[in-house]
């Protein structure tokens, strides 16, 4: 038994450099996804909320257009979205496969759409009194967003982001299937093509631990910021 364990550890040590490299690639994809979600998904979700009925920027055309785009992206089977986007990625980045930055393009698209929906939902959950108060005090739309909506929704925005982030990890493994690298690629190479399941499970356990820690930290932060 101890021999088997020793062999296992030896194998893990042998494979560690390529596992770490794969995790680094996943990390790159996650960073791009996170940036896209926060810098573009948050404003997009807020925009959809603000343009909906009885909101300050009520505009049926823009609201429906953005809703349709978000729905299309979210309902697109992710692997097919990646393939459909390839010509576009090649045109803008020069190559469509083979490195984590190329792989980040479809990841960013899905991240924006996914988090925008979470943001919209968080804002819809706020009581209407908040809007009424901002209007009564003569707040501008930016003041309404930053001094009222985001203040009151901050915990649910963080929890929504945590949930979205865990989905990003799942999406990132699909990138491995088309040569995007990352931990998904690692699992396919060793677990699927070479039947080295011990190494694959090690990678899976590391991902699970990472997700658990991230979820826990997100929840703690949300609780700390929630004074309601």
């Amino acid at each position: 038994m101890s021999d088997a364990l020793q062999t296992y550890f030896q194998r893990v040590i042998d494979y560690a450099p390529s596992m770490i490299e794969s995790m680094g690639e996943t990390g790159i994809m996650m960073i791009f996804s996170t940036l896209a979600a926060i810098l573009l998904g948050l404003p997009l979700g807020t925009f959809i909320f603000l343009t909906s009925k009885n909101r300050p920027l009520e505009n049926k055309f823009w609201n429906q257009l953005m809703n349709i785009i978000v729905n299309i992206v979210r309902s697109f089977p992710f692997l097919l979205l990646v393939i459909v986007m390839q010509p576009l990625i090649r045109a803008t980045y020069g190559r469509a496969t083979g490195d984590p930055i190329a792989a980040s393009f479809p990841m960013m698209v899905i991240s924006i759409a996914l988090y925008a929906r979470f943001v919209e939902q968080s804002l819809l959950d706020l009581p209407k009194e908040i809007t009424e108060t901002a209007q009564a005090f003569g707040a501008t739309t930016p003041q309404y967003v930053f001094k009222f909506l985001f203040v009151e929704a901050r915990s649910s925005l963080i929890i929504g982001f945590t949930t979205a982030f865990v989905s990003f990890i799942s999406y990132s493994t699909i990138m491995g299937a088309i040569g995007g690298g990352g931990i998904g690629d690692f699992a396919i190479r060793y677990g699927y093509h070479r039947y080295e399941t011990d190494i694959m499970f090690t990678a899976i356990i590391i991902i699970i631990i990472f997700v658990q820690v991230f979820q826990w930290a997100g929840l703690k932060l949300a609780q700390k910021l929630d004074k309601k």
Partner: protein, 246 residues
């Protein structure tokens, strides 16, 4: 000061158009405490909300200090709202902001030259010790005190009160009535109160408009003879008074 000229409001509802306000004309004097009473659905909140444009009349004119509210553009409307404070039935405080941050919120939205001092207003509403508390740590009465402080910090010319005591118990209600009385004595301010509670308008108002199904039924001068209440009466004493005397 505030004048409604033949105002009407029609809401679209599933059952067809609903006449919420039916051709009301009314004048409210400067520094008056004016009550608007009526049963639920009488249109009193709608009438109040015409004043700060939270609702717009379908017909008629609402004038505040000679300004026709309907003619203001967005920017003018925001500036116009600087002179109006508002307090709400559900207090409408931001749960993630402290008492102090909630009270100071209106000052973050506009520049005011002669806003009140935070210490001064906290003392006035009796919340000096709660400055750093969050609304979730306060009682209903304390939350409404924060609401009133937030409404007053800008030294508004008009204070709109939408069912300010309806979510409160009997004792707390009297405390808030007492506080609003002090507000009117201390500041040069016109106060409008929408409520369905007769004792509140009796204790507080100079004049009262009675609304029924969107129509103005009557405007009464409030008799002051028997309005004196003791704000220091205990809950038990109040209960005894109410239960044994009626």
């Amino acid at each position: 000061m505030i004048e409604f000229k033949n105002v009407s409001k029609i809401f679209a509802s599933k059952a067809g158009p609903l006449l919420a306000i039916d051709n009301i004309s009314l004048f409210i004097e400067k520094n008056e405490i004016f009550g608007i009473i009526g049963e639920s659905g009488a249109g009193k909140s709608t009438l109040l909300r015409f004043i700060n444009a939270l609702e717009t009349p379908s017909e008629g004119i609402v004038e505040v200090n000679g300004t026709n509210v309907a003619t203001l553009n967005n920017r003018e409307l925001r500036l116009f709202k600087k002179q109006i404070g508002m307090i709400f039935q559900q207090f409408n405080l931001l749960g993630n902001k402290t008492v102090e941050e909630n009270i100071l919120l209106p000052l973050e939205l506009h520049h005011y030259d002669d806003a009140l001092d935070i210490d001064q207003i906290l003392k006035f509403v009796g919340l000096e010790g709660k400055r750093n508390s969050y609304p979730s740590e306060l009682s209903g009465g304390q939350k409404q005190r924060v609401g009133i402080a937030r409404g007053l910090i800008t030294r508004p010319k008009i204070l709109l009160c939408d069912e300010p005591t309806s979510a409160l118990d009997e004792i707390t209600k009297r405390e808030i009535v007492d506080l609003l009385t002090r507000v009117s004595e201390t500041f040069e301010i016109t106060i409008l109160i929408v409520t369905h509670e007769l004792d509140v308008v009796k204790d507080l108002c100079n004049r009262v408009a009675i609304l029924d199904e969107g129509k103005l039924v009557d405007v009464l001068e409030v008799s002051r003879e028997m309005n004196a209440f003791q704000s220091d009466v205990s809950y038990q004493e109040l209960a005894r008074e109410v239960l044994l005397n009626e």
